[in-house]
Symmetry: C2
Subunit: 365 residues, 2 copies
């Protein structure tokens, strides 16, 4: 944040004056000649049914959307065998994460998170003026530190599963043990769950303090439409509903999400293509001998080894830069000792992955 001059700063809430700033992954103004494997988008367009559905709404855009997004909530409820009052939808899952922070965190109610994980959590915490407790992973195997999470003195805990940036999926029994023993609301951020074998939706029946957040940005190819949802006990949904913006989801996003969620055949076809490419990526990196977490998400987290046999922050950054110069964008998280020697690569199309592999082979020579 730039410096705020005195005549203004006297009006600014203290939480905001000391807030942290979020840095999103690089979003290029044009994709021409560019291979974008840096922000875990789906490489395929959304279901072809989206266009027609959205087009039908345009002439009615002069009217307000349904403030409750009822059709969309009911569809999501049916999909997960839940009732409509266990669902809330929002402007991307970021909207839902923010609602959780505003509802369950404040200056007296601290927030917890795994470190490293999604870098938006500390921002939301700082905007709310709540204390943040980070529970660190023991090592770069990224196994869930169950007892440390339970022992954290927080009112709200963000558990990212599958975990980012590692791609690690946590055991559901461990998650249930946390839910049962932590004295807090447990948000399970399942942004990548559609690419995983297991998810925590069955746990909703066993613990009232669980909130599951989902996004249509990854598995449904709708990052540009900003649609996410949360699943929880009806009382929790009712609380979140009271904090959200009245018309938080525009008409076009509501129907685009509805169309994409309805087209199961297209969804499953895209998902299988991503999973097949993930398998191929695993094979490629294991052949190289690079330490790679078994990913349950739509990205791969791997530790590059250079031609001299070295791994380090410098080596990882060198590969990141080498690829960038070839217009291949991946992600390097330099700010943590468990991530700085690795790179994160979103799963792209076969063609883009082939170009990536060729480039990596070239770099290694």
């Amino acid at each position: 944040m730039k410096k705020v001059s005195k005549d203004l700063s006297k009006f600014v809430s203290s939480a905001i004056l000391s807030r942290k700033a979020y840095v999103p992954g690089f979003q290029p103004p044009s994709l021409k000649g560019l291979i974008k494997l840096n922000t875990n988008e789906n490489p395929f367009p959304p279901s072809p049914t989206v266009s027609e559905t959205v087009l039908n709404e345009i002439t009615h855009l002069n009217l307000y959307p349904d403030p409750h997004s009822r059709d969309l909530r009911n569809l999501i409820a049916n999909k997960h065998n839940l009732s409509g009052n266990q669902v809330i939808v929002g402007n991307g899952s970021d909207d839902l994460l923010n609602l959780c922070v505003r509802t369950f965190a404040d200056s007296a109610r601290p927030l917890g998170m795994l470190e490293p994980s999604y870098s938006l959590y500390p921002i939301l915490s700082s905007l709310q003026g709540s204390r943040l407790e980070k529970v660190s992973f023991k090592d770069d195997q990224f196994l869930l530190p169950v007892d440390e999470v339970i022992a954290s003195k927080v009112n709200l805990f963000f558990l990212t599963n599958p975990h980012a940036p590692s791609g690690r999926s946590f055991d559901q029994n461990e998650i249930l043990r946390i839910a049962n023993q932590i004295n807090a609301i447990l948000v399970i951020d399942e942004a990548y769950a559609d690419f995983a074998t297991y998810n925590s939706i069955p746990l909703l029946k066993q613990a009232k303090n669980i909130v599951i957040t989902r996004t249509l940005s990854k598995s449904y190819s709708l990052a540009g439409a900003r649609v996410g949802y949360a699943l929880a006990h009806p009382e929790v949904i009712d609380l979140l509903d009271g904090v959200r913006e009245v018309y938080n989801l525009d008409k076009m996003a509501q129907v685009a999400a509805h169309a994409a969620l309805t087209d199961n055949i297209y969804f499953e076809a895209c998902r299988q293509k991503v999973l097949a490419e993930r398998d191929r990526a695993n094979l490629f990196f294991s052949k190289l001998g690079w330490r790679t977490i078994e990913s349950q998400a739509n990205f791969i987290f791997t530790e590059p080894i250079d031609s001299k046999g070295n791994s380090s922050e410098e080596v990882a950054f060198a590969l990141f830069e080498f690829l960038q110069n070839k217009n291949i964008h991946v992600r390097h998280f330099s700010n943590h000792r468990l991530t700085d020697s690795k790179i994160r690569i979103s799963i792209g199309t076969s063609e883009h992955m082939d170009i990536l592999y060729e480039s990596i082979n070239e770099w290694k020579r």
Copy 2:
């Protein structure tokens, strides 16, 4: 809000437990056979250029939107002869109002508003846990209580101009005097400014503490797309930018707004039709002898007189119900002595207004 059980309420932020709930105007699931004059929407569809522009985005929805909505900001800046860093866009102007509250109000920084005015302000204040000071109008002429606003002990003041629900437009010199003398950030909520003769944009050069909010929901026929913006000093914009959600405006909304804002000929044609209908409505109600504020917005605020010559809350509600039974929806604000004997009617198409007039004549018989 429903009752929260004890096992949950212990986790809930105190501001949220005592929050107020917003009740939006009735949004019918279908418009069939219905005349909707209750939430100040534009009766005309958005510019025909919107469809094509949105359609072009659909196949790219798998990619994140520009988090800064740069093209849209620059277009808005040019339109108002400002620079790009004086503009922020959001998910409806409600998003911007909320950002102002989160940035400039908290438990130690009270919020001020005109009473009555937009019923969302108290909700945003209660969610933030800030004290609310209401500055009341003297009478139902709704003249701006300049000295009382200046004397309010607040950190942030919401001034709605043109005022809703009255439609009254305030003098720009009075607004400037408030900006110069109040020790607070002054938000001028100009949701209806495109229907008014004057607006406060020229004042931005004269006072650093002014934030002007606008929406594309009314004059640009985009209520369903949720696009609003704020204009302010670059330092204020920078503060608000740090509090907003990273991707607060989806791709479709960004380009829909861009298309609508570019099509000046269509915009002006729709605006003129609304203004002409407003003139006709003024004439109709003045012939009836109903006390009607000279509106500078896209609605009319009038005090019904029944066949016995009476005006009262009961009379206004009787007309409201009579019209509702004919599937004509207007708004009755029963919760304030300055509004309860009036009804607010959004300006609709000539056809719809004719049906309204016939129905009112029938009611009066």
